[in-house]
Amino acid sequence: MDRDLVHDVTEFLYREALALDERRFRDWLAMLTEDIRYEVPVRVTREGLADWELSPTSRIFDDDAATLEVRVRRLETDFAWAEQPPSRTRHYVTNVVVDPTEVAEEFLASSNCFIYRSRGDSPNPSFYSLARKDVVRRTADGWRLAKRWAAFDQSLINAHNLSIFV
């Protein structure tokens, strides 16, 4: 892949993560395409030979622009108790690898995402590990996220809720 393109996509993913960790959710929505698909499949422990471990039908997140807007509007109210006080998240985005797709201006960005989440005065943060296979699109206004596909590396997830974005 062209090195500059890889660099630019990587920077885009870093700035997207920064928007989430700084809780600039409106900025974050602006980084998504209007036809964004936001998916997190449910994982089930299967044997090595099983045809799937990520459920073809079950989703933790199954969102589009409209439902993401609902989630953000919710967070903008004073009544999103799950985030009162706000989670302190840190998205460690690593191993960004970029590949072409059939669509000229769209690229597949694979990355690892390790999320550190701490709440209130608990000294025991939560850690989540996800494999991401995103699609990023080059637009006249710059890079946009056209698809977020992220899978937890756990089948029994150690989070009392997922009031954050991955």
Partner: protein, 438 residues
């Protein structure tokens, strides 16, 4: 056996707690205490009927899921004859785990340690070195997987560790009338949309069980953002309308919330409604057609919620049903299983929209679920404080109310929907078990 908690130290506490329930009090301590947890494992979960799976999760011979009762991992499997078994997922030779997946299909299970092999029904059929090692003296039929009782109602599979326990039918009793609302959506009934969400939370299972036994009281505040964004037709003021119904002596209870000028069976697809008017009894139709929100708990820890919901606030939306199991995983800790049930008879588009509504509202990332678990986890945290040992919570709503004489269904129905009566019934049954009197 010392891993069996000596009940004595708690006996007085259990007695005074049962008395308190009658008087409309329940102790904070119950929601996060190591001894209470141990006693529940011993007296409740080893005797009650515990939910295992929905039949649609294991439709074909050899299909299995692994689930828990207390901390016992069970293989819930459909054998080659279509019969469902629940066997302890442990090899009888040296205790290895037989089946390491949560879901799959197998005709046999072969142990990875020394190779003992069992039919999926649990029967031991293969023992290496039977001649050289055992000189043929090992009797295979004595060493099958340890079995657990299984019974079902309308696709719900339950297990029970107590051979003496009453039948599932008697255990559920009149609550089956209300379960049908969730399970008989049309002649073909329901199926799971897929595997359940599954997560852990530092939450006591009882807090969830109580909330889903009809806690209409929390909705306007705990889910205030939803009213704020226009998700609810009812306002806080009209929200209290509806019935709180419980099955006395069984612990089961359900809240049936109404809304001003809500269309009969509103939110169901028309063809389903036709079905239901025939498949359900007249009494059921009379109760359910007015019901906007139905949220109920099968004692001890299985709950259901049905309500209309839309992906974008203000639209009519569709009905989704979630079924959830609150599996205790230690004092003040649980594993949540959350399924979405869809009507088998509905078209795929309806099923998929219902499922998307479920994921937006409930499930681990659901916008309503999020706030519930935040509150529940905080309650659990408070309950372990040393200062709350002698603190009771008030459970007096509806203590002086008369049952609604007009109510067409079984059990005891009270108005308003906002009520503690179902909870007193829930905890008094819990008290029976902890006292060893169930």
């Amino acid at each position: 056996m010392t891993t069996r908690p000596d009940p004595t130290p708690l006996a007085d506490w259990v007695a005074s707690t049962r008395e308190g329930i009658r008087d409309g009090r329940f102790p904070a301590r119950a929601f996060n205490d190591a001894d209470v947890h141990a006693l529940e494992q011993e007296r409740l979960f080893s005797k009650a009927w515990c939910f295992l799976a929905h039949e649609s999760e294991i439709p074909s011979p050899g299909d299995y899921v692994t689930r828990y009762i207390a901390n016992n991992n069970l293989i819930v499997v459909r054998d080659e004859n279509g019969e469902v078994h629940a066997n302890l997922n442990m090899c009888r030779h040296r205790g290895n785990v037989m089946c390491k997946a949560e879901l799959g299909n197998a005709s046999h299970f072969r142990c990875s340690y020394h190779g003992w092999t069992y039919k999926n029904s649990g029967e031991l059929i293969g023992v290496p070195y039977m001649k050289e090692g055992y000189e043929g003296r090992l009797k295979r039929k004595e060493w099958g997987l340890v079995r657990v009782r299984v019974e079902s109602y309308e696709g719900l599979l339950f297990g029970c560790l107590d051979p003496e326990a009453e039948s599932l039918a008697d255990y559920l009793g009149d609550f089956r009338f209300y379960l049908d609302l969730y399970l008989k959506q049309g002649a073909e009934g329901v199926e799971v949309h897929g595997p359940p969400d599954h997560w852990v939370a530092e939450t006591d299972w009882k807090i969830c069980a109580e909330n889903f036994a009809g806690d209409g009281y929390h909705t306007p505040v705990a889910h205030q953002w939803g009213f704020n964004l226009g998700y609810f037709p009812s306002s806080g003021s009209t929200h209290s309308q509806g019935w709180a119904v419980h099955v006395p002596g069984k612990g089961h209870g359900i809240g049936l919330g109404h809304s001003p000028n809500f269309p009969p069976f509103g939110g169901f697809p028309d063809e389903l409604v036709e079905d239901m008017r025939t498949s359900l009894s007249p009494e059921q139709v009379a109760v359910f057609e007015k019901t906007r929100t139905a949220v109920g708990t099968v004692f001890p820890n299985l709950s259901f919620l049905m309500q209309p919901f839309s992906l974008v606030p203000g639209e009519p939306g569709v009905r989704f049903v979630t079924m959830r199991l609150y599996h205790p995983a230690g004092p003040g800790r649980m594993e949540m299983y959350s399924w979405c049930l869809v009507p088998r008879g509905a078209d795929q588009a309806y099923k998929d929209e219902a499922y998307r509504c479920y994921t937006l509202a409930f499930g681990q990332a659901g916008t309503f679920e999020q706030d519930d678990f935040e509150n529940w986890t905080k309650v659990t945290r408070s309950a372990e404080s040393t200062m709350v040992r002698d603190v009771d919570f008030p459970y007096i709503m509806g203590m002086e109310s008369e049952p609604d004489p007009e109510f067409p269904g079984p059990g005891t129905a009270l108005v308003p929907y906002v009520n503690d009566t179902n909870f007193r019934n829930l905890w008094s049954r819990w008290g029976d078990y902890l006292a060893g009197e169930a």
